[in-house]
Every structure is written in structure tokens, then in C-alpha cells.
Symmetry: C2
Subunit: 339 residues, 2 copies
């Protein structure tokens, strides 16, 4: 049976000799979002950037329970540097699996493949989807599902899903965060790299990601892209159909006017995103509803942000909150999701 | 630069020792749809099915100008039979490229790869998309584009596009048929296997398929799937956004009630298909319009079909025609497309 990507945790974060913090985003993201899953960091030079996690050897990491070495740096081009190979080979030898989110694949490097086979270790390329994903059937699954959807890319769909997961758990709900992108998969320890799945199987991949569950179980699914993005909309639509969400939360960044990476396309309005996502979602779940809106207000002052969200909440007739700010607005959004 | 799949024509059709006509659909399809591109057929047994094309040797085929051997049979599982290998090797030796539309890949068979390299021949796996397809930008391209869209899969989108291409050419329009599926690509001699493209690049693949052209040039693009299909909608949406069509033609089979390959999903109505496709298409082309509807009336009598199409045309306020039946109804559909 085809399953999702699953990562062996906890991690040791590999930083090599990277001195530029901008190239260590993956390591910093894991430190920030999943510190309890990170045993420490490993460097090959004293000058390397520091995450603040314990700087330990490969052997120390395994003694402390680490199960995989995560490549926490990304150089230009997403390549696996030849300078990293000795460390990667040693990690395999001491009993760590390797986890890689770069475009280049560990599985394409013969000496790593050979060493992993000899030591019974796994090379996990997160951007490589599992084999034999089926075509989606649209058959209804048990359990409850929430999907974050967006008016554009990169405006808070992952963060909103993680914050809602934490809030659901805090209220005693049995909840899983379902990751759909590289960073989310590393944080969650598993998931489905939706943007790397062949189009014919995109909705099928989403069906696998949130399998049938207990009636009171929640899957909170990380959205991808936007139905209004001229490049990424197929990812969004397959995820929407296959997730068959009961609840949608629309994510938006007030003030952003142009879609990222496009020929000047305007960002969709919240109302258009709400309407078009509900229309498509109703194909696989007639009972779908929108619980509210998540704003990314990181460019606004607290006062301006709260006032804007109150106005928009009154105008749209539903909760509007910034999960990063929390507070009563976010509580009302959580209430509406669980209502 | 990334280009589409291009097939060397004319073809020699390989039938092997296949005796079951149902497994020779590709060969029959090419005979029916592109006879001028087929030099003959090649069999390894006198009992094999016959297409009616000249039964010739590999050497005769090259003498008559054949440039590739097309695998015209598909066995259960879509495998490349070991019994075919001697013929495929001989074909490479006499100077033919190999063309394969099966799921299994010629490029995964080392002895074929080695022989092709030695003789400077190509192994073309149609289901393998070209490398380095970019993410779509949505930037407007010159020239005119028509896309066929559907209320379900497998109901006439390819045939409608081919019939419209022929009609446009007959009226003196500079027109290219743009194939998006395996059979269409073989008939056209090139195209893009849209269902095999990774979701992030789906719309980008459609952008490559119908490049900028002269203002009075038409690309008539074969549609795929349906926005209402729970499995294949991502393919349809990427093709729609990337094609940035000026004109849509909605394809429908009256009387079909359930979508193919789904858990009992109803077929969309023509009105819903028209509305949702126009809404999405307007993202990349504000001037998009629907010229009319193509009915697959193969299960109806001529009299019933013509009467139904007249009624539906009056009800919908646009031409409704079955390209297979032609006649005045189809002429009016062509008029509306070119209006």
C-alpha cells in the first residue's frame, strides 16, 4: 500500500561549514517550529552558523537518540555538495538515516546508496513522492478535515494550520497536522510533497494524506498555492478535491496587491477565494463551510491589525484573526472551526 | 530551451504477434486518424491482427521513408514484452527511432539504450514529459487559442479539437492541432503528455505547448479530464490556465449520468461546465468566450440527435453540434468559433 513520506525523529541538524544564515533556513525553521524534535546541530567548521542547539558529534547524537541527520542548509541550485559526502557516509555508518529536502536527490549518489544498503539505513528525499499513488476516487472518508486555502502563495497557510492544530489539541480534540510542503513535512515528521506529485495523481495524493479516521478526529491540512495563481492552481485544486474538507479557512495578507512569481496578477479578494474554494470543495463534500479568515498582519502595528480584523470580521460576517497575534479574535476563529 | 514531445514521421506500426484487436487500439487509431503518416505495419506472426496497411519488413519501411517504429499494441499491464526486443533492436539497426506510448519505458531497458546510443537513434517514451518545464507565469502570448473542455473524461474532446482543426484549415485559417494525450500526440506527431506532468509545472507545460504565434494563427488544443472530475481536475485546470484560450467549446455526452472512474459522481451539466471553465479561464484571458457545445451523440439515431441538438441550441443560446455528424449544425459551431 502506498503511504505518505515518514521521517525518523528526532533529528540532528547538519550545517556543514555554512556561514550564511540565509542558506540555513531549514535548520532555523526546525529549531523554531519543532525544537523538541531536534537533538542538536552538526558542523564541519567552527565558523559555521549556529542554531543555538547543542553542537555535538554524530556519535553523541545517536547516543542521545537521534534517528536521522537532516540536511539543514541549501546552497544555490539546491545541490548536494561533494564536501558533505564524508559526513553523510559517517552518519550512515553510525546508524543515522539521511533526510534531504533539496531538489538534488540523495538517491542519485551511488556511494550513499551503496553505504545505506550495506548499513540498512534509509536515504529520504522529501521532494520525491511515494510510488504508486492512485487516481482519486472521491469516495467519502470518515473523520473531520480542515484545509487552509489562500488568496496567494506564501502568506501563512502552513502557519495557520499549525496554530489551529495546537489550538484544537489544547481544547482536547484528537488532531493531526497534515503537512504538504517540504518545511511542513520536516516539522511534522511526515506528509506528502504535493507540488512534486504528477497531475493525474494529485487529488489521489491528498486522499492518502488524510485517511479515514474516527468520527471525532480532526486532520488539519496545510494548504498549497491558490486557485487564482496561474502557475500553482493545479496543486491547490487537487489538494482541495482530495482533502474533501469539512471546514475551510481562507488565508490572506492585507496590503499585498500582486501575486508572487506571476506576470503582475492581482491577489484575489477574500470573497472570491471563499466562493471559488467552496464551489470546488462541494464536489467531494457537500457540507463544506468556511469558518473564517486568517490574516497575515506582520507588516501592521498591533493596534492597526486588530482594528482592521474587527472591521473585516464585521464586513464578512465571520471571524478574522492573525494566529501569530492570538487573542480573542483567534479564539473566535477556533470556535467557528469547531462549531 | 524546453520543447514539447516531437515524433519522427512517417511511422511503421508494430503489431508483433498480437491476435486480439482490442490490444491493438493504438495501431487502429493511427490508421483511422493519421493514415497519411503510416507507411505500413510490421508483424512477427502471420496470425497477427491486420490494420489493412501494407505488411512490410523493417528494411522496406526505411526504403519507403519510415522514420520511426511505433509500438501499436498494448498488453495487459502496459509492459514492453521481452518477445519484442529482437525486433526493436533490429529496427534501431536499420535506422528507425522507437516510439512508445505504454506506461513501461523504452529508456529503462539497457540493451535498447545501448543500441540506440551506438546507432544514433532515439527512444521516445511519449508518457515521459520533457525535462525542465518551467512554472507558468500567466504572461499573455500572441495568436489565437481554442480549448475543448468537458463535463467528464472520454467523451470527445480530442475528436472535437481535431474536427475543428480540419474545419479551420478548410476555411483557410493557419491552424495547429495541439495534442495533450498519448493518442493525440501520436496522431499529431507531437504534443505534451499533460497527465504525466508534475503538478507544479502543469500550467507551465500548457504554456509551452501553445507558444506565441502570429496574430491570425489558431492553436486548437485537445482538452483533458474535467474540472468536475474528483481525480483529474488538476490536469484540466492547469491546461485551462496555461492555454489562456480565447474560445472554449464544451464537450458533453447526452445521457451519460455518472462520471467515469469515480465513486458515482454525477456528470456536470453543460451550464455548470461553461460557467466554471469561463471563470477560471478569465484569470489568464479576460476576453475568453464560449463558442458553443460539442455533443457526442453516438448512441442516438441521426433524427433524434439532430432534434436534440436543435432543442439544446435554442435553450442554451449557442450552437450545439456533433462533429462526427457534421452538417449545418457543425458549420454554425465553426462560424461561432471564428466569429
Amino acid at each position: 500500500m502506498t503511504t505518505t513520506v515518514v521521517l525518523p525523529q528526532p533529528y540532528l541538524l547538519f550545517l556543514g561549514d555554512e556561514t550564511e544564515p540565509g542558506y540555513a533556513k531549514t535548520a532555523f525553521g526546525l529549531r523554531d517550529w519543532a525544537p523538541e524534535k531536534c537533538i542538536g546541530e552538526y558542523v564541519t567548521s567552527d565558523d559555521a552558523v549556529a542554531t543555538g542547539l547543542p553542537r555535538i558529534s554524530l556519535a553523541e547524537a545517536t547516543e542521545r537518540g537521534a534517528r536521522s541527520l537532516v540536511i539543514g542548509v541549501a546552497n544555490r541550485g539546491g545541490l548536494i555538495s561533494a564536501a558533505w559526502i564524508p559526513t553523510l557516509l559517517e552518519a550512515i555508518t553510525v546508524g543515522l538515516d539521511l533526510v534531504n529536502g533539496l531538489h538534488a536527490r540523495l538517491g542519485d549518489i551511488p556511494e550513499l546508496v551503496e553505504a545505506a544498503a550495506r548499513h540498512g539505513r534509509r536515504l529520504i528525499d522529501i521532494r520525491t513522492p511515494p510510488a504508486n499513488i492512485p487516481v482519486a476516487t472521491g469516495a467519502k472518508r470518515t473523520g473531520k478535515r480542515l484545509l487552509t486555502v489562500g488568496t496567494d502563495c506564501h502568506l501563512g497557510k502552513k502557519y495557520t494550520a499549525m496554530a489551529l492544530t495546537a489550538a484544537f489539541v489544547a481544547r482536547g480534540k484528537n488532531t493531526d497536522f497534515r503537512a504538504t510542503g517540504q518545511t511542513g513535512i520536516m516539522i511534522a515528521g511526515g506528509g506528502m510533497p504535493m507540488d512534486a506529485v504528477v497531475s493525474d495523481f494529485e487529488a489521489g495524493a491528498a486522499e492518502i494524506l488524510s485517511p479515514a479516521a474516527a468520527e471525532d478526529h480532526w486532520d488539519v491540512i496545510e494548504g498549497q498555492g491558490s486557485l487564482f495563481h496561474p502557475g500553482y492552481a493545479p496543486v491547490s485544486l487537487g489538494l482541495l478535491h482530495g482533502s474533501q474538507p469539512d471546514v475551510l479557512v481562507v488565508c490572506h495578507e492585507p496590503g499585498r496587491t500582486r501575486m508572487l512569481g506571476t506576470a503582475g496578477f492581482p491577489v484575489a479578494t477574500v470573497e472570491d477565494a471563499l466562493d471559488l474554494n467552496l464551489r470546488h470543495a462541494s464536489l467531494t463534500n457537500k457540507a463544506v463551510r468556511c469558518a473564517g479568515v486568517s490574516f497575515n498582519t506582520s507588516r501592521l502595528s498591533e493596534e492597526d491589525a486588530v482594528a482592521l480584523m474587527e472591521r473585516e470580521s464585521a464586513r464578512l460576517g465571520m471571524p478574522v484573526a492573525d494566529p501569530m497575534r492570538g487573542g480573542g479574535q483567534f479564539d473566535r476563529l477556533v470556535d467557528a472551526c469547531l462549531a
